[in-house]
Symmetry: C2
Amino acid sequence: MKRAVKAAPRRDLRVVRGEETHARILRTAMDLASTEGLEGLTIGHLSTSLGVSKAGLFAHFGSKEALQLATVQAARGVYFAAIVEPALDAPEGLPRLERLCQAWLDYVEQETFRGGCFFSSASAEFDSRPGKVRDLVAQTMREWLDFLESAITDAIRLGHVKKSVDAAQIAFELNALEMGGNWAKHLLLDPAAIKRARVAVMSRLDAIRA
Amino acid sequence: MKRAVKAAPRRDLRVVRGEETHARILRTAMDLASTEGLEGLTIGHLSTSLGVSKAGLFAHFGSKEALQLATVQAARGVYFAAIVEPALDAPEGLPRLERLCQAWLDYVEQETFRGGCFFSSASAEFDSRPGKVRDLVAQTMREWLDFLESAITDAIRLGHVKKSVDAAQIAFELNALEMGGNWAKHLLLDPAAIKRARVAVMSRLDAIRA
DNA sequence: TCGTTTGACGAACGAACGTTCGTTGTTATC
DNA sequence: GATAACAACGAACGTTCGTTCGTCAAACGA
């Protein structure tokens, strides 16, 4: 894995082919991990599923842990693109907060990941397993909760939401209700799961409205 | 594994020694599965952790799937004993419903399982993995939700809770908030997680009080 | 006491795991 | 056109997985 010391080849064009495969691998890896889990995401399974050799795939990452980390990073990108970005279109305050919650439930309803919310699965799988993967998953969820909380704080500041509410508490509750919807949809196969979560979220938002 | 056809040996005393080991295995299996997952619950790992031979342990169940099923069954017993049974002491209606919710959060706070709520983990691990294990986990959670819902229905019937509330909806919400507490405690290591869940649950119960 | 049943064992199986190695075309630069 | 870098490969490594088999001592029923 030693890089060239002299010559310093131009990377801009050179590496395109490799990075295409890299991205293709991660796209499949995310779907596989969302159904089989990040540990069940096997290099052999993933490589045959992509029609490439085990060794060829392995060389892209260097270790299983690195593959898992890259997969979580990729999922993190998808997650924020699907949820946070569309909410930024809505006006600040309560409208954006509502949009954020709806976008989360859309993200599950549209099966952005085949096995449901990637981070709900990854959270449960790694919460008792110290290491870099756990840290990255936890950090991502921490960021998500912080963003949700800041949206609530904004809504308070703008007078859309009662000044008396505890933003962190509401962020916790909204997130819990959303994840509960994902849980009921995928474990119980309840067709009303997401609708139930929407009702719960909207009624909670209603209750804190100024 | 063929049983005697004739003679029919008395089981009451005979089997005691075997069943003791059986129970000891399951007690360790539940803790291991709650941290490593039901798939990470390895026969080799479990046997060395118990100080017995792999083959000897294996003979108790006959297959890995049977071991997983027995472990889920055992966890199911612990779950209902920790949550449902204590709630039956409380008077029917809202008091019992409150007790049920508090007992769930006690069950997580007291670390009944080392890795947090056994069924939260198992749900996420198996929700996309068809088979008997998935079915048993889902059935157990279905029963739990049904019990919660019936406690709400009782509270409505007794006039403790508004007649207008949708019992299934409230059961969904209470369960989601509780599991959210487990999630925040174990993934984010938030020391306030369970307290937050208690606040959320109690305020939800307050909101539906007649 | 003898014979059977039972719980637990060590050894071994094939398959799959993550990983390493040396090699082969392809591609970009000189 | 030579050269070096790179993406991808097949084959093999040692380990662990779930599982099978034959054995053996202890416990039991006769």
